[in-house]
């Protein structure tokens, strides 16, 4: 099951940029549709965090992972999950709180997970998913599976002490753990330099004994190359930290218009567009024609349009599922309050 990974970072074949581009385009288009779902009042709530501007992190790192590798994500994890093979229909249905979603409408955007794809879960607690990869790394070592476990999180999560506790453990025990910090410059309205005196976060990882690197997210190939290299080490028990610089194109969540950001800065930030950058490179290097790319865009647009129709057609989970899965299926479900009240009052 363990697909061997090249240890010397050979120059990636040209086809890679094409597949990276395709994945990034799918992510961006999916996220745009999430926005549409919200506008159409079909999403479960407004806590929707789009990863537009960060597609290279998802595509580049996930391409270095293989089947059986596990991962956790933060609240802005749609792209990562897609890049690990998620079904966009079931994702969108989950974002809509529908029964057909990955978590039957219980989890939503911030708690999407799929054990089949190694997704140990998105998390609405900043930093909350990080230590799980230490445990998954321990399990991988214990079972000699050769698998790695990767935690994806934002720059904001570097404020959480549990990140350092987790990295320290991973380094101490030489676990196959990868820590991926997607630095979109902001944690809600707080710019990274307003949250720390030294934004060179990878230096912290080094001080804990991990391999620590920082890469520009504009260039998916650079991300991909770094991830390949680090993952090869991680698989051999050299835990690593990778910080990927990008820019959060839109608000923190769907309702946020980022009034705290300088429009000029936003303008400039959005120039740092990994999708556009890859597209230009494909054309420039003659790897695709304008017509081919337009066709791809149409295809991906149609794929992602369908997720909305699919979601709208789905049902909310029935109330009867409310008590299910608090405990394992073989265990009794918690007694509903209403039943208890009736028993108390109907006592004779």
């Amino acid at each position: 099951m363990t697909k061997p990974v090249a240890h010397t970072p050979a120059p990636r074949p040209n086809t890679d940029l094409t597949s990276h581009y395709r994945m990034m385009l799918r992510i961006r288009t999916f996220e745009e549709r999430v926005g549409e779902l919200f506008v159409r009042g079909q999403s479960a709530g407004s806590m929707l965090h789009l990863s537009i501007g960060e597609e290279s992190a998802a595509a580049g790192v996930c391409a270095a992972m293989v089947e059986g590798d596990t991962f956790t994500t933060h609240h802005r994890g749609h792209g990562i999950f897609l890049a690990r093979g998620a079904d966009p229909n079931r994702m969108m249905a989950e974002i809509g709180g529908k029964e057909a979603g990955y978590c039957h409408g219980k989890g939503g955007s911030m708690h999407i997970a799929d054990m089949g794809l190694g997704h140990l879960g998105a998390n609405a607690i900043v930093g909350g998913g990080i230590p799980a990869v230490v445990g998954a790394g321990l399990a991988a070592r214990h079972h000699g599976s050769g698998k790695i476990s990767a935690a994806f999180f934002g720059d904001g999560a570097t404020g959480q002490g549990i990140l350092y506790e987790s990295m320290n453990m991973a380094a101490l025990w030489s676990l196959p753990c990868l820590f991926v910090c997607i630095n979109n410059q902001y944690g809600m309205g707080t710019r990274i330099d307003q949250a720390t005196a030294n934004p060179e976060i990878h230096e912290r990882a080094r001080a804990f004994g991990l391999v620590g690197e920082r890469v520009d997210g504009l260039d998916v190939e650079a991300v991909s190359e770094a991830a390949d290299r680090l993952v090869a080490g991680v698989r051999q028990g050299k835990p690593a930290f990778l910080m990927i610089d990008c820019y959060r194109f839109y608000g923190h969540a769907r309702k946020d218009k980022s009034p705290y950001r300088d429009p000029a800065e936003e303008e400039q930030g959005r120039q740092k567009d990994p999708v556009a950058f890859a597209r230009a490179a494909l054309l420039e290097r003659g790897l695709a024609t304008e017509a081919e790319l337009t066709a791809l865009e149409t295809e991906v647009g149609a794929e992602m349009d369908a997720t909305i129709d699919f979601t709208i057609a789905q049902k909310e989970p029935p109330l009867s599922t409310m008590f299910r899965d608090v405990y394992a299926p073989e265990e009794p479900e918690p007694e509903p309050v209403r039943t208890r009240i009736d028993r108390v009052l109907a006592r004779d």
């Binding site: 709530g45 407004s46 409408g105 989890g107 609405a124 909350g128 989970p317 608090v326 208890r340």
Partner: protein, 330 residues
């Protein structure tokens, strides 16, 4: 003096402004409290008047935020630490429960920790299992921590103002579904004293004891019950520590039937404490056991149907009231 229409959010905000103008040692610290203006906009623009040294944007470090507030309070400031969601209290319970709550006692009364921890909880935004909880029971179960949970606009203002004069740590839990609620209030009118409950409605058939958002559901249910000939007394606790028990004892002893309503999960929650206490103090007057109407013993779903179904609302309170008086809900 002046009656005005105010939202719960703006009342909270006004309380902070007035306290900060009055006492230069009041500082606010928390995630996104400054430039962003607070996740629920309670601290909107405060940074403009008071500056970044008094409205302090912190990194996302809940344990250290609370811990720093503890130290600040001991060193002469009057910190208002903001925890964006009460759901995050789990990572701060050491600083809150082992430090803030116990320092006065452990140190033999040498010093207190006069800080306020402002946070918000509850369902209503389809925010899922980690952003929708009602965790006040953890706080109520921790000696040394005061606990205020305002349900009305006037209380949002006054309880926060009062909390900011208290010598001991106060956990102040707002309800996310109430921020946009408007009421006409006169903030200059005399306030109810700290640590007293309020009888929000008088009725001879049934006592409903509740707090925070469930007060509004209880009042709605009471109205519907009245249409069925059942008159409920509705008591709003306002603060859960101190707990003002006398009015409850008085009402339940007179009326003989009590329902306690809490949005938190039922088992080992606030409703259990209220039920046990009422039974202890009013046993001989009770016609029925105290009935607990509380959150289901399950996590909250993001699905709006399941979310709403997981916690009490006016309908459940109404139906329970009918049943308690021997009537069958339609």
């Amino acid at each position: 003096m002046a009656l005005q229409e105010l939202t719960y959010r703006d009342a909270l905000r006004q309380a902070l402004i007035d306290a900060m103008r009055e006492n230069p040692d009041v500082v606010i610290m928390g995630e996104e409290v400054g430039r962003y203006g607070g996740a629920y906009a309670v601290t909107k623009d405060l940074i403009k008047e008071f500056g970044g040294e008094r409205v302090i944007d912190t990194p996302i470090s809940e344990p250290a935020i609370i811990g720093a507030a503890v130290g600040a309070a001991m060193a002469g400031l009057r910190p208002v630490a903001e925890l964006m969601y009460v759901d995050f209290i789990g990572m701060t319970m050491d600083q809150l429960g082992n430090q803030a709550a116990k320092i006065r006692y452990m140190f033999g009364g040498q010093i207190g920790v006069p800080m306020v921890l402002r946070t918000q909880g509850g369902t209503g935004r389809s925010a899922g299992a980690q952003h929708s909880q009602s965790l006040e029971a953890y706080v109520m179960h921790t000696p040394g921590l005061r606990l205020a949970m305002p349900a009305t606009v006037a209380d949002a203002y006054h309880l926060l103002r009062q909390a900011l004069t208290k010598p001991d740590p106060v956990v102040f839990i707002e309800h996310k579904a109430l921020y946009t609620m408007k009421e006409t209030v006169d903030l200059d009118a005399p306030a109810l004293p700290w640590g007293t409950s309020a009888v929000r409605r008088e009725g001879k058939d049934l006592v409903i004891v509740t707090y925070s958002r469930q007060l509004h559901y209880a009042l709605e249910a009471a109205k519907k019950l009245a249409a069925q000939g059942i008159e409920a007394t509705v008591i709003d606790l306002r603060t859960l520590n101190p707990l003002d028990f006398d009015p409850i004892r008085e009402a339940v002893s007179r009326i003989g039937r009590a329902m306690v309503v809490s949005e938190g999960v039922m088992t080992a929650g606030v409703a259990a404490e209220l039920s046990a206490r009422i039974t202890e103090e009013c046993f001989d007057y009770l016609e029925d056991p105290v009935v607990r109407v509380a959150g289901e013993d399950i996590p909250i779903s993001v699905s709006t149907a399941l979310e709403t179904g997981s916690v009490p609302g006016a309908q459940l309170i109404y139906e329970t009231g009918l049943k308690m008086l021997g009537k069958v809900p339609a």
